[in-house]
């Protein structure tokens, strides 16, 4: 019994920092609707700033003072980020801002490296709180007890702020209708900045408070962000009590998981999230998301048309140009183009469900990596001929998408995104932990193409044919009745349902098709690299695709492909430089701010403006 209690207390102590960070994220999302992926970076900044301040300030006052000062400092940084990066793009399409926050992550990573160096820092101990108290004979660190005691006060303070103060009323009103709040005489821009600063400050506080239990290092941002999102989603996005319950739930379950199922550490929280979302699609205390209550933000999408003669000619010319590359170019150019085509197909498959279907998936890598693994496993274990194994890639990925989609498709918006993320993490963990079959993170190696393809030029043509073929096929589907039905379900699900379209089924089929095409890209990938690792299934891989689709332009058909091409080239170029993450982050932020419709969308707008074809009257 005493042991259980001690475990429970450990869980509660862990929940403290998690809750602080999660409550900040929840608050930011609730008001600004921004899915802030940089939130983990503020946590990391909190840890580093906290360490630095604690080294300067001595004693009790210094320690606790440093924590408060850290909160202030990180809040200030958050305010700057909000004003510089996010304020210009509030009107951009939904979820576009998350791309900007991704840029912020990269910038903060390199800045932290520049300022604090690469070495990990041990967190200072809280003065007078070293050691343990014995509770029923079990040792419980003193600092744990302090953390457990602090958390309810913070929860209460936040709850009071949100429900009982004028500021809280304004914040909640702004959550629903920013423009109206402004029209009633409230400076909502500052309200947003304030909320963002408060949210960031909470993350910073979390980072500083955990110092006596850990320290500061450069991987903290990524390490916490997954858990934080899980907590916020399980609790229900925007709900502070929900975040608290979820933080406790996850932390306590984790402690028991460590004891009774030590191998579960990687996936436990994602399993919990998947179960919660399947049972309660909007989290424990969340409410249904009503997307675009006051009309969709951003300019309405223009109707699509297949390319005219000029467009067709350009595409044909591009393909012809690609076809003659092996004649004159060196091998590496071919490698780079193969990479680009594979990535473009992967991005195009995501863009298909995202752009036409409005389904934002955070776990699309499950199908890319799933396809790659399907082919690789066949080759590795059964020596299947490459041709056959390759066919299996899209097939297996499509089936996987059918399985995952069955659970996810009933959800919408951010919750859909997070459930896809949870499932992709499950797939990842299978690849990572089922070592007997997948060899874990040692990966499957020596997966090379068949003889007749195993040279740069033949494989180049193979990729060109299937990759470009896949992209063209997806575009064709967008122009078919099925593609139209998919867009209809996105534009007005109500009207679609009322005219006989089974929206969910259409989305389900599209999800499976997108999965299969991502699997095709994965099949090409594995044979081009000769190996596959769980990294192809990682969250980062999903986000790469997501980012290029947004950068390219969600509301354009070529967005995914162009974004993928742009990103491959920019990344290839920038990673040669010392502080490439900083530069890449700045490039992403610049594109987001300067081209809120994405690269293709903004170029089109510019082109129309140059040709004055915007005379169409709106009434």
């Amino acid at each position: 019994m005493a042991f259980f209690l001690a475990q429970f207390l450990t869980g509660l102590a862990n929940a403290a920092a998690l809750f602080l960070v999660a409550s900040g994220l929840s608050l930011i999302f609730g008001v600004t609707r921004i899915v802030n992926f940089a939130h983990g970076s503020f946590y990391m900044l909190g840890a580093f700033i906290g360490v630095t301040l604690m080294e300067i300030l001595p004693g009790h006052v210094g320690f606790w003072g440093a924590i408060l000062l850290t909160g202030l400092a990180v809040g200030l940084i958050g305010a700057v980020v909000e004003m510089v990066v996010l304020r210009p793009i509030y009107r951009a399409p939904e979820l576009f801002q998350l791309v900007a926050t991704f840029g912020v992550i990269l910038v903060i990573q390199d800045l932290a490296l520049m300022i604090w160096g690469a070495e990990d820092r041990m967190g200072p101990r809280a003065p007078g709180l070293r050691g343990v108290w014995r509770i029923f004979g079990e040792p419980v660190p003193k600092y744990d007890i302090v953390l457990i005691a602090i958390t309810p006060f913070i929860l209460f303070a936040l709850w009071y702020l949100i429900t009982r103060t004028r500021l809280g009323v304004l914040v909640r009103a702004a959550t629903q209708d920013r423009e109206m709040v402004g029209a009633l005489g409230v400076n909502q821009a500052w309200l947003f900045t304030g909320v963002f600063a408060l949210g960031s400050a909470l993350a910073g506080l979390g980072g500083a408070l955990q110092l006596p239990k850990g320290g500061a290092d450069l991987l903290m941002d990524f390490n916490i962000i997954g858990a934080v999102f899980v907590v916020v989603v399980i609790g229900g996005m925007g709900s502070l009590p929900g975040a608290f319950i979820a933080a406790v739930l996850i932390s306590v379950l984790n402690v028991f998981g460590v004891t009774y199922l030590p191998q579960s550490t990687l996936v436990l929280m994602y399993v919990v999230m998947a179960i919660v979302l399947i049972v309660r699609p909007y989290g424990l205390l969340g409410r249904e998301e009503v997307a675009g209550e006051h009309g969709q933000v951003g300019a309405p999408e223009t109707p699509i048309r297949p390319y005219g003669p000029l467009g067709m000619a350009l595409v044909a010319a591009l393909i012809a140009a690609l076809a003659i590359v092996p004649v004159f170019a060196e091998q590496f150019v071919m490698t780079l183009i193969v990479d680009m085509i594979i990535f473009a197909l992967f991005a195009a498959s995501l863009h298909f469900i995202l752009g036409s279907g409005g389904l934002v998936s955070f776990g699309h890598a499950a199908f890319f990596g799933g396809g790659a693994y399907a082919a690789a496993l066949l080759v590795y274990h059964t020596d299947t001929p490459m041709e056959l194994a390759f066919l299996f890639a899209p097939l297996a990925a499509g089936l996987l998408a059918l399985a995952i989609g069955w659970f996810c498709i009933r959800l919408t918006g951010v919750y859909f995104a997070m459930l896809t993320l949870a499932f992709s993490q499950l797939v990842w963990s299978v690849a990572f932990q089922w070592r007997d079959v997948t060899r874990g993170d040692d990966g499957l190696v020596n997966i090379w193409p068949a003889e007749w393809l195993n040279a740069p030029a033949p494989f180049y043509y193979f990729t060109l044919a299937l990759g470009v073929g896949g992209i063209v096929f997806l575009r064709h589907v967008i122009h078919s009745p099925f593609g139209y039905a998919l867009r209809a379900g996105r534009d007005s699900p109500r009207q679609a349902e009322a005219t006989g379209i089974d929206v969910k089924r259409v989305q389900y089929a599209a999800f499976a098709l997108a999965g299969a095409m991502a699997g095709l890209a994965g099949g090409l990938f594995v044979f081009s690299k000769g190996s596959v690792f769980p990294t192809t299934l990682e969250i980062g891989e999903s986000f790469d695709a997501l980012i290029v689709v947004f950068l390219g332009g969600v509301k354009t058909l070529a967005g995914g492909v162009v974004g993928a091409g742009f990103m491959t080239v920019v990344e290839d170029w920038l990673t040669r430089l010392e502080y490439w993450r900083l530069l890449l982050g700045l490039v992403i932020i610049a594109v987001v701010i300067l081209m809120p419709e994405g690269i293709v969308g903004s170029l089109r707008t510019l082109w129309n403006r140059l040709r004055h074809t915007d005379e169409e009257e709106v009434r």
């Binding site: 969709q296 309405p300 999408e301 223009t302 109707p303 699509i304 048309r305 297949p306 064709h476 589907v477 122009h479 078919s480 009745p481 099925f482 593609g483 139209y484 039905a485 867009r487 209809a488 996105r490 534009d491 007005s492 109500r494 009207q495 679609a496 349902e497 009322a498 005219t499 006989g500 379209i501 089974d502 259409v506 089929a509 169409e616 009257e617 709106v618 009434r619």
Partner: protein, 256 residues
């Protein structure tokens, strides 16, 4: 006249609150019937139950003699019920005619087809429907830039696409200019006459209601308090009290 829609003792409660409380009525073939009442009287709830968006707590809905209670909206649509919305639900990313083509593709069960180019399918047929609502000149404009009244007409064209036998229209003229209101309802009345469609609609504009409906039902606090022709309803004291008021602010009066 034969009965196309019959509603029996329909009830809907939310957390103990009775939004619709035992409503029964019927709509005859070729009839244009209005459902009016104060806001919150349960009109939309009623409508959503007829169309399958909401499942009734109890009671039954019969369409053409068949029990359709609790069926999904798309199934009810396939049986021959069309619907327009209070706030228009059109496909913003498509052109006007593509909106109609989309409904036709659904009607012809082409939703899962990936072979043909969608914008070529049923174009002539769709054009005819646009002509019915006098929208043919705007066929190739993007739907997102249409004026509100035109959106309403487009929605009507979409609703007519599968040649429904009953049309449910939720505040068809909300947000339209008075002249356009009359026009749209005239159009609807013509369609009723020519195609033998029945229409059940809710409306706040009493001019529209009294000018165009054969019968009027009044709903208040979830219960039907009147069901009859214009004169019967207008002279019903209970209706005057809860809904129509002194009647000083609508047209009939000023012209009288």
């Amino acid at each position: 006249m034969t009965e196309i829609l019959r509603v029996e003792n329909l009830r809907k409660s939310y957390d103990g609150f009775l939004a619709v409380n035992g409503v029964s009525f019927s709509v005859a073939q070729g009839e244009l019937k209005a459902l009016i009442g104060p806001n919150g009287a349960g009109k939309s709830t009623c409508f959503n139950m007829l169309m399958g968006q909401l499942r009734p707590t109890s009671g039954q809905v019969f369409f053409d003699g068949e029990n359709i209670t609790g069926h999904k909206p798309r199934d009810i649509w396939r049986r021959g019920v069309g619907r327009t919305f209070q706030i228009t639900g059109t496909y913003q990313s498509m052109t006007v005619i593509e909106n109609v083509q989309m409904a036709l593709m659904s009607h012809h069960r082409k939703i899962f087809s990936i072979a043909p180019r969608a914008w070529k399918l049923y174009r002539d047929e769709a054009f005819e429907f646009l002509r019915t609502v006098a929208m043919e000149e705007q066929a190739d404009r993007p739907c997102s830039i249409l004026a509100y009244g035109d959106l309403k007409r487009l929605e009507l064209a979409i609703a007519l696409c599968h040649r429904p036998r009953l049309l449910l229209m939720d505040e068809p003229t909300a947000g339209m200019a008075p002249s356009a209101r009359i026009e749209l309802m005239q159009l609807t009345a013509d369609i009723v006459r020519e195609q033998g469609v029945s229409v059940l609609f809710t409306e706040h504009d009493m001019d529209v209601v009294f000018a165009h409906s054969h019968h009027i039902m009044v709903l208040n606090r979830g219960e039907l308090i009147a069901d009859g022709n214009a004169a019967q309803v207008r002279n019903n004291p209970q209706v005057q009290e809860v809904y129509l008021g002194g009647g000083t602010l609508f047209k009939e009066d000023s012209h009288a």
